[in-house]
């Protein structure tokens, strides 16, 4: 469609362990993932000439022993990896790089060799939110939800449905951090963190890593791959405001609307063509916003859609099939794991495999309704 050469994902791997990994630093989690991803495509560190990461990218590229001619340290939160993939596609298409690795590693739970988080009272959040007891994302990212539920006359169970539906996937996945089957009542019986959110509607904090290897379809044809290549058919990125309180409308996220629309347009597909969906779910309201903002359902219809079973195993739109950030794992910047699951589904290698997945849409968010990135991946 674009006349530009196709770019494919030829390696995609998570760290050996995700969840609680107290014996590895964030750099080791990322390096472990990169080596596993390279091993899937018969490439070595010497073949890598592009590096993207949310870790300090020059430091990480050096630790790995690479000599890159292309770097991307874009850090806009958990969707940064969608942006890295989008930028890597452009770099490969224009000859700025041949083999790009995109890497994530985060010791969010065990805090081994972490990037320090020091409250910065000079930052906008420090000046205008920490001063009011906003001590984390759970009491800020979630605030628009009260307006959303009110607008559509929905109750707390609209959020609980999201977790319950995803537990149908997570309960079949041995790697899931929260692997129990959960009913709406189970979720509503869990303790309240920040009303209307219960603890099972907020992600856990875990350790883990993930990496992708991208190259041109032409180069991929000469590689010895362990799984079929996955084509990056479309991508989109944008930002709305520096925090959730800046949303133009508290009940819809322009970032989701714009980035998904661009990714679908590039891929020359519509939502009707999408077989599989990943929506970044640090909190249970995000899949509700995502389903509506991408256009799978109308305004205010997402919770009824989920309650109908449509996103569960056997449903018409399998969503967050690893269990999602809410149940599978959430290191802090979850986006890499959403991409990993989409690649596994397209390769036919998922733990809970959906039959015949040929297209997948991955919708990421970064910061708190701040940045957004979307990818459309397809079989090659």
């Amino acid at each position: 469609m674009s006349g530009l050469p196709d770019v494919v994902i030829v390696g995609a791997a998570e760290s050996e362990n995700v969840g609680v990994v107290p014996d590895q630093s964030q750099f080791q989690l990322a390096a472990d993932s990169v080596l596993r991803a390279l091993a899937q495509c018969g490439l070595g560190i010497g073949d890598v000439d592009g590096v993207a990461s949310t870790l300090q990218v020059a430091q990480f590229a050096h630790h790995l022993g690479t000599r890159p001619r292309w770097l991307d340290g874009t850090g806009v939160g958990g969707c940064s990896y969608m942006l890295h993939v989008r930028h890597a596609v452009a770099a490969i298409q224009t000859g700025q790089a041949d083999v790009v690795v995109v890497a994530h590693g985060e010791s969010g739970r065990s805090r081994v060799g972490p990037t320090l988080r020091v409250p910065d009272m000079a930052s906008p959040g420090g000046q205008f939110e920490l001063t009011y007891g906003v001590a984390g994302t759970f009491s800020s990212f979630t605030i628009p939800t009260t307006a959303y539920l009110h607008k559509y006359g929905l109750g707390e169970e609209a959020l609980a449905e999201v977790t319950a539906a995803q537990s149908a996937w997570a309960s079949q996945n041995p790697r899931a951090f929260r692997g129990k089957s959960l009913t709406v009542d189970d979720v509503l019986a869990s303790r309240i963190i920040a009303w209307p959110f219960h603890v099972l509607e907020c992600c856990p904090v875990t350790d883990g890593g993930g990496a992708l290897v991208l190259t041109s379809a032409e180069r991929a044809a000469d590689l010895d791959l362990t799984g079929p290549p996955v084509r990056v058919a479309g991508s989109g990125e944008t930002c709305e405001g520096p925090g959730a309180s800046f949303m133009e409308d508290l009940t819809t996220f322009r970032g989701f609307r714009d980035s998904s629309a661009e990714a679908l347009r590039q891929a020359d597909l519509t939502v009707a063509d999408i077989d599989h969906l990943m929506v970044y779910d640090a909190y249970a309201h995000l899949p509700l916003y995502g389903l509506e903002d991408i256009g799978f359902v109308g305004r205010g219809e997402a919770s009824a859609f989920i309650a109908s079973g449509a996103t569960r195993p056997g449903g018409s739109l399998p969503m967050n099939t690893n269990g999602g950030g809410l149940l599978y794992t959430h290191t802090g910047q979850y986006g890499m794991f959403a991409i990993q699951e989409a690649v596994r589904q397209l390769r036919g290698e998922a733990v809970v495999q959906v039959p015949d997945v040929r297209t997948s849409l991955i919708q990421g968010v970064g910061g708190m309704f701040s940045a957004a990135g979307a990818l459309v991946l397809t079989t090659a």
Binding site: P119, M121, A122, P124, G126, Q127, F128, E129, L130, T131, Y132, G133, V134, A135, G136, F138, S139, S140, T142, I143, P144, T145, T146, A147, H150, R191, I192, I193, A194, W195, P196, F197, S245, F246, E248, L250
Partner: protein
Amino acid sequence: MTARTTVGAVLPLRLKPYVDADNSAFWSGGADGALMIHRCRSCGSWFHPPAPVCRNCQSLEVGPERASGRGTVASYTVNVQPWIPGSEPYLIAWVELAEQPGLRLTTNLVDVEAEDVSLDMPVEVVFEPHPDGDVWYPLFRPAPGATA
């Protein structure tokens, strides 16, 4: 759900902001009972947090101006998890100020029980001084007649 909503007692510890040239009027206006919000002197747009440029018309002629201190509750949460040691549940709200649609600030609601808060409820500013006497936190309480 019972929440702590007394001025001076919402949080066991209220952190102090870093006061700079852009935000000093916002944090000191309470000494005069004034809610000071940044406004563009070219196009008249209000915006918060204070910034050095108007994102509506890109003018650099911006500065603090006294706002009415009235607004409505745009959305809110009841924070229960005691991340601040010793804290009891408290209300965090986004108040949309009367001056302009979408002009919101993050604050605590006071003088109201959690179950009596409603969206679009009219509220008015009240100030909580820091013990050091150099910072006044704008908080919001129901406007007269706002709750039954």
